[in-house]
């Protein structure tokens, strides 16, 4: 194994991180994810406005955001990583990366990159929806903004958690489709089962649309994210130990 100084290692780490970030944000799937997310947010808002069912900014925003978006959010979060992963397998870039790493393990750097991409894939559509809502609905109520900021802020950790889950799945399979579908399947399975298992407070759609119930419990939402991220870290670490 090649020995690096701390400075060299940090430089390599930074270079790997920036290259990875540049790659994932220029992926076509990242743009597709943002586009699809924006569509699933804007269409309900337009329908709401055309039926004149809303007159407050937060009411319109929260209703539009909690209609379709929460149910496809894990899929949208995993999409950028799935595209990048497919390219890596097809072009054998992953093999080249192994050589360039020189024995260093950048698995957790990749974790951060993938997480950021998943988070932004959900955050950007919500910001676009906010712009649309501000243009179409007038408000001067500060409470409106507090609710909206809470919803927007949650989109990032939600995307982060489900994108890293998709990455963890690649420890078991080289299939892009399985990596893409698994977070969505897990999410739907939990959404179906949690009410029967009396785990209502951890109901997954609450993690991205906390105002489905009148009083959201943010502590439970972050416990849900933490469990997903911890699961991904454990799986990836176990796989790395096994493969070494």
């Amino acid at each position: 194994m090649k020995i690096f100084s701390v400075k060299q290692a940090l430089t390599l780490f930074g270079r790997f991180f920036s290259t990875d970030l540049r790659r994932i944000f220029t992926e076509r799937t990242f743009l597709t994810s943002v586009f699809l997310g924006s569509l699933t947010l804007i269409i309900p808002l337009v329908l709401l406005l055309s039926n004149s069912e809303t007159d407050s900014l937060s009411g319109g925003y929260v209703t539009a955001q909690s209609t379709v978006f929460p149910f496809i959010a894990p899929f949208l979060a995993a999409l950028p990583f799935a595209g990048m992963y497919k390219n890596e397998i097809q072009t054998k870039y992953s093999e080249l990366l192994k050589l360039r790493r020189g024995g260093r393990d950048y698995g957790f750097t990749r974790f951060i990159t993938v997480g950021i991409s998943g988070g932004l894939a959900l955050l950007l559509p919500e910001l676009i929806l906010l712009i649309f809502s501000l243009i179409s609905i007038y408000t001067d109520c500060i409470d409106d903004f507090k609710r909206i900021v809470a919803v927007i802020v949650l989109a990032f950790p939600f995307g982060f958690a489900f994108a890293v889950t998709a990455q963890a799945v690649t420890a078991f399979t080289r299939s892009k489709t399985i990596a893409l579908i698994t977070p969505e399947v897990l999410y739907l399975l939990f959404t179906y089962s949690f009410p029967y298992l009396e785990l209502d407070e951890y109901y997954p759609p609450l993690a991205i649309s906390p105002f489905i119930y009148s009083t959201p419990n943010f502590a439970n939402i972050f416990v849900f994210f933490a469990i997903l991220i911890a699961f991904s870290i454990v799986v990836t670490t176990a796989y790395k130990i096994k493969s070494n």
Partner: protein, 234 residues
């Protein structure tokens, strides 16, 4: 027929990992269904028996169509002899022989899947509910709201369970054969997605129109497979 091919194929492509995942998800889904029925029996202040819970679990649309079926196709599609490919045809010396052995393989994996399903369903329902030889009155009352047909309730609970398992087995086996044919023509992932769509649609149609389709559909597809296997492009 060259059974050596079957032996190699079974040992090389045995989907152990997929079966483990299927077992975990099935156990989870069955546990959730049992919890659901405990809630229901509490709300109507009466208890279901273990065989009745099995019937409810197997006739539950979400379980049957959206959980067990995709899992089954996930297991089957992982068992395709990807590495053997054309070598399989040479080893078998004929395409009909190859297709027949592939059908035997699908049958074998379907049996394994159903054994796992049976063990999990029996263990979970027996742990939560008492045994009974006849249907309870609560179950008769509740059966129509669950969409359980009166045909199921004619015999004893045991015969109803056996009938349900048999019909489910034949339906899934048919879908497994469809998947096998699609995987000859398409990539594994495309075949998987297409089979899931076909499977879900056919299950919904069977349930909605109460067609006793499984046996006839199975026979039709096996016949179609034997007719198709003479095609050179398979």
């Amino acid at each position: 027929m060259n059974f050596r091919y079957l032996k190699i194929s079974l040992t090389e492509d045995f989907p152990t990992f997929r079966l483990i995942i299927a077992a975990f998800v099935t156990a989870f889904a069955v546990t959730v269904t049992v919890y659901k029925h405990i809630d229901l029996s509490d709300s109507v202040s009466a208890s279901f028996s273990a065989p009745e819970t099995i019937i409810l679990t197997l006739t539950d649309m979400i379980n049957r169509v959206f959980i067990f079926l995709p899992l089954y196709i996930f297991v089957i599609s992982g068992a395709k002899s990807t590495d053997l490919g054309n070598t399989g045809v040479i080893m078998q010396r004929s395409r009909p022989g190859l297709v027949t052995l592939e059908i035997i393989k699908v049958l074998f994996y379907t049996l394994i899947f159903f054994v796992i399903l049976l063990i999990i369903v029996l263990a979970t329902s027996n742990a939560a509910f008492p045994q009974a030889e006849d249907f309870t009155r609560t179950f008769f009352g509740a059966s129509s709201s669950y969409g359980i047909s009166s045909d199921v309730l004619r015999g004893t609970p045991l015969t109803a369970v056996v009938n349900l398992f048999t019909s489910m087995f034949l339906t899934y086996f048919t879908i497994g054969i469809i998947n096998m044919f699609l995987s000859f023509m398409l990539k594994e992932e495309a075949a998987f997605v297409l089979t899931v769509i076909i499977g879900i649609l056919s299950e919904i149609l069977i349930t909605a129109y109460r067609i006793p389709l499984s046996l006839s559909a199975c026979a039709v597809f096996i016949l179609a497979s034997f007719l198709l296997m003479n095609k050179k492009n398979l």
